[in-house]
């Protein structure tokens, strides 16, 4: 919200690998000082988009600017202002925590008291006990903290994180997100890709990406409110033929089993959907409770990525 402009803009950004289109003419406007998420399944083009934004891959078509600089022509200038954390742990496993940080500090040409800055990062990211430990022997959460410490060592204005929490436990994930909010508070723009709904929900802004396209965009709250579906939860119909029966209804987008409950996504245009569901179940001798409920981000995702329904 801090009176600032746009960190990243992309227009018709496209990347092809041979015949395959990984990123398909996407437009982005990502504001400064916010946490912005890319939500999408594996292979949807999230990583390719991030790599184009840090000048690592050339766009096949369209263009993108970071801080008003072209990702093609000004890649070197952008690199100095950007921290990047690849999906795979990319620091050196045969170097210790301190040696890795020292190396990265030299690459970015950190000025002043480098040791003090490294010590500060160690403290922030809880790495004090790992100082002399080689990265290869660290746990997933420790590696991830080290990666983030390395990516933020030069205090970048923009942080690109490619599925940063895919190999860490839930507690580490929560701590990690606390740190992201602190960084955003301090003014950094953070672009994070994820396939976790709970993480996506914590972002200020969100783009849902499927098959290389942005299929929905907005704040998580707006996306959930604007979902083109009614959600019903059915209790007492699990383990029976019910999921299959409901799925066959033409106005149902999806049925998910959650323990003893079934979560049904119905088309918003369908009148009396609740009554129709009840009737269907009763016909088949199933007595169940049906309740209308709030849309979750997962529902938004399912609706946004569904194959074009109803044939119209």
């Amino acid at each position: 919200m801090t009176g600032s402009g746009t960190a990243i803009t992309a227009r018709q950004l496209t990347r092809k690998f041979g015949d395959k289109i990984a990123v398909d003419h996407i437009d982005l406007d990502i504001p400064q000082g916010r946490i912005y998420g890319f939500l999408g399944p594996n292979g949807s083009g999230k990583s390719t988009t991030l790599r184009m934004l840090c000048g690592m891959l050339l766009p096949s078509d369209g263009h993108a600017e970071v801080f008003g600089l072209s990702v093609v022509k000004d890649a070197e200038a952008i690199r100095r202002r950007l921290g990047y954390m690849p999906q795979k742990f990319s620091l050196w496993e045969d170097l210790t925590c301190d040696e890795n940080l020292r190396f990265i500090a030299d690459l970015y040409g950190l000025e002043g008291d480098v040791d003090a800055r490294i010590a500060q990062q160690r403290e922030t990211y809880n790495l004090e006990e790992l100082r002399k430990q080689r990265a290869g022997t660290m746990s997933g959460g420790q590696k991830q903290r080290l990666s983030l410490a390395a990516a933020t060592l030069h205090s970048p204005e923009l942080l690109l994180l490619d599925e940063p929490t895919s190999a860490v436990d839930p507690q580490s994930r929560r701590d990690f997100w606390e740190r992201l909010f602190q960084l955003a508070e301090a003014g950094a723009t953070i672009l994070v890709s994820t396939h976790y709904m709970d993480e996506a929900e914590r972002c200020h802004g969100l783009a849902i990406i499927a098959e290389g396209k942005v299929v929905a965009e907005g704040t998580p709250r707006k996306l959930m409110a604007g979902v083109e579906a009614d959600i019903f939860e059915i209790e007492g119909a699990d383990g029976s033929a019910a999921p299959r029966l409901i799925r066959e209804l033409p106005w149902v987008h999806g049925v998910t089993q959650l323990g003893v409950r079934l979560r049904v996504l119905a088309d918003r245009g369908e009148r009396d959907a609740e009554a129709k569901l009840r009737a269907l179940l009763r016909q088949n001798g199933i007595e169940a409770q049906i309740e209308r409920t709030q849309a979750s981000l997962e529902d938004v995702f399912v609706v946004a990525t569904r194959p074009d329904k109803r044939g119209s």
Binding site: M56, A75, R79, P86, S90, D94, F103, I104, D106
Partner: protein, 377 residues
Amino acid sequence: MAANRFLASLRRLRAVAIKEVRQLSRDRVTFGMIVGVPLLQITLFGYAINYDVRNLATVIQDDANTSMSREFIAQLRATQVVRVSYTTASSAELEKLMREGRASMAVVIPHDFERRLQSDTRAVVQILVDGAQPSIAGVAGGIAAMPILARHGEGPYSGGKRLEPRRIEIRTLYNPEKRTAVQIVPALIGVILSMTMVLFTSGAIVRERERGNLELLIATPLGRLELMVGKLLPYVGIGLIQTTLILIVGSYLFNVPVAGNLANLYLATLMFIAASLGLGLFVSTLAQTQFQAFQLAFITLLPSILLSGFMFPFEGMPVAAQWIAQVLPLTHFNVIIRGVMLRGASLPEVWPQLAKLAVFLTVMLSIAVARFKKRLD
């Protein structure tokens, strides 16, 4: 401003080099290979195989210059073992050609050639052989046994005056005892360096790609030249360590002398190390995985060992093989190192070979730098 940027660049380069040395010192297998490969090779190649030789570059000093001496030269030519590359009238020039390695054999026909032919006691002809090269020394023996001027006299194959073998005097230069080790050890420096330098550097660079480190490096301000030079520098030091190791083992175990200037030897070796690193860098831009890099490195190694004159004399090979050999840095380094180490040649005397190494290095670096993009695609 420019100075600051240069310093920042140096700092990045130094950081890469330090990181490389650190990783190397923790990689026990590679570290062991640095010392293990030279020791193993020098023991294995202690003995060489002798093969028949043809078309030896030969310098002729015909002091007699009579019809009979010319007939003798024609017969030498007819054996196809000898290719008369130079004729000279001065012993100094003959010696120079031998020392520079341009001629492997010299035939000296004394001015009293015909008088000596009549006499039964004195040597008729002197053959000088470059003992620094394998297999050549044996050839001289064959020539000496040749029925010289058999057809001279009354008629073909009938009562022509034959020379006894002992009457041709053979002198093996630079390696009088014809010891294989003396021929092998200098050449082994080149073989071991081509083996380890190409293998280590291509592996080291591809490793960054394979382990995903490159993706992070690309996102930093590190330049591609800084990355390449920083990664290569430690291997220059390793190459010099290996050279020293071979020299020490060669001198203590095999009693191989260093006739030339030690500084010259190291300078020439440095040039060869650079050329090999250039090749390794080029290989690294072709390979996607360390395994591919090792395979490619071996593909370059095999012709180096077979065609460079390390095992078989260069002159004995077909023309096509000689052309391939011209492209291999080891071919030229073999000439240099044998010249400097055994014949005591100075660097200006082997400058054509040094120049060829420099050309090779320039070409390899240019291709590698052009191919090494700071991008993933």
